[in-house]
Symmetry: C2
Subunit: 319 residues, 2 copies
């Protein structure tokens, strides 16, 4: 019998789940629509049936544990709490509910922490004990690993670098405050920066022909690759603020590496090169040359399921 | 035989050392002038002789370990590196040198980390696993404890909150950069804020009669206690920036408490009350009400020796 874990990625729209071996191979995978189950009990029934179905298709496999990545997840309590993009209100005791259906260890953490554990177990951080993963998507998520463990803090919600304030009285943030890191260093942040640059700069730009509501980080990166002056300037500014947040994080926990992940990180060297330069220029001298800025070593399209599976494997290793 | 450790606080001017039992009682204490020993070997000879002298005065004691707090100390390597305020240049292998003289476990960390361990072993953090100590003196030092361990990071120099940048392009810092937390939230920072307020405000103030070179945080706090408008405004602004740095640290590691320590913390409620208010107003909502702002529970005048001793006791517990 080959041992596997189930990795589950709960998103606002879809839930993806797969069986993953300890080398990071996804042996099989399926999905369901999260929005089809406004009642949590129905959702848990459908999800556990889905996993049981995958297992029945592979009689040579033994399920050892279940790992789940979800928004607003609390690792310490095994709950999803007040998630704005999920239908289930209040505090959902997700691991307890799941364990009643499938009696193996069930662990839960948020998406960015799952990404960090994925990096540690299957990706570029295999031999690292101190590193940070920044997921640069609609917002900015972060998973912080110190001394080989994800930082959860007193509340279970630590690692919210996206909501550290980098520009006092800066851009309005969805959290109700101003100047948060994620309002600049994310795919959405890049779009906002382009809108600002369009107001400040007089240069011609292909981005002037796209309505604000249709601007995406992908279109901006494509324009930057063609040397569009507004796109280039916006990416440079994004890298500057990203570096600023990185420099402050380094003064806090002195990681060996920062991994960049998610939509905006797809910009590749157009983002990485200026980010590295700004980090080098602005880092506290005691940390100069001590921190690598790296692309994630986990394949983007499978990262969420792999991260959740890594969480489960990591938990089994601890016990 | 009663077991004790030696706690040593190496300062730029003086070195204080004492024998400390596991309840935090300093049984005896002595000091030497650090500046009398520009050669490290002579310093180590004098310091070890000093400790041996203390031991010879107490034949009922058994020395179990030595803990040392020093500027620019690297816990991981046991070295003092490039300390600007010490005569010994380059990288000093302090624990190795000391261990050759007195053959017990020798551990070294920087002053702020020693303060954090002192808080955990003898002070207000006895039952806490996640907290931060901020030492608000000439600069701002920080000791960060996560999951019961001091954060050292990949390099051994983690926990430099004083050099996270809180105001982009703000005040010049001794580190060569601008806007560092310690240029605002420290005794020196308060003096700088008073100078700024004297330029901005037109109100009468007793502080206008003191030359800039003679302004101290103590004089400013005394004036604030008498409702001097400039002193009150300066303390309020200092609390605001202090809270700002605290709020960002909470988003990082979600501690149970922040302990304030050092000269500026002597301001008491004049500083603590507005700091708590600003933290409450500006903290990320998920962390609201989860973090206490506390005065250190370690007596200020003995804190450095107790912190170094706590480091030694803590190390013995680990092994």
């Amino acid at each position: 019998m080959k041992e596997v874990v189930a990795g589950i990625d709960i998103g606002g729209t879809n839930t993806v789940f797969g069986l993953v071996d300890n080398a990071g191979n996804i042996l099989c995978e399926n999905r369901l629509k999260t929005t089809d189950y406004p009642k949590i009990n129905n959702y848990i029934s459908a999800l556990s049936a889905g996993i049981n179905n995958l297992m029945q298709g592979h009689t040579d496999l033994k399920l050892k544990a279940i790992g789940i990545g979800a928004p607003n997840a609390n690792y310490l309590k095994g709950t999803i709490e007040l998630a704005p993009n999920l239908a289930w209100k209040g505090i959902v005791p997700l691991t307890d509910l799941m364990k009643k259906k499938i009696d193996v260890p069930v662990v839960l953490t948020n998406d960015a922490n799952a990404a960090a554990i994925g990096e540690m177990v299957f990706g570029g951080a295999k031999n690292m004990k101190d590193f940070i993963v920044l997921t640069l998507g609609t917002g900015l998520g972060s998973g912080i690993v110190i001394n080989g463990d994800v930082v959860y803090g007193h509340t279970g919600f630590a690692g919210e670098l996206g909501h550290t304030i980098v520009i006092p009285e800066g851009r309005d943030c969805g959290c109700g405050r101003q100047g948060c890191f994620e309002t600049y260093a994310s795919a959405t942040g890049l779009v906002r920066t382009v809108l600002y640059m369009l107001s400040e700069m007089r240069e011609e730009s292909s981005l002037r022909d796209i309505p604000a509501s249709e601007l995406t980080s992908k279109k901006i990166v494509e324009a930057a690759a063609l040397k569009d002056p507004v796109a280039v300037e916006a990416l440079d500014y994004t890298a500057k603020i990203l570096a600023f947040g990185i420099v402050n994080a380094v003064s806090f926990s002195s990681p060996e590496a920062i991994f960049l992940f998610g939509g905006l990180a797809q910009a590749g060297e157009l983002l990485f090169a200026p980010t590295r330069e700004y980090v080098d220029q602005n880092i506290q001298s005691i940390f100069k040359g001590t921190v690598k800025i790296l692309a994630s070593g986990v394949p983007e399209n499978n990262a969420a399921v792999l991260g959740a599976a890594a969480l489960a494997w990591n938990e089994l290793k601890k016990s």
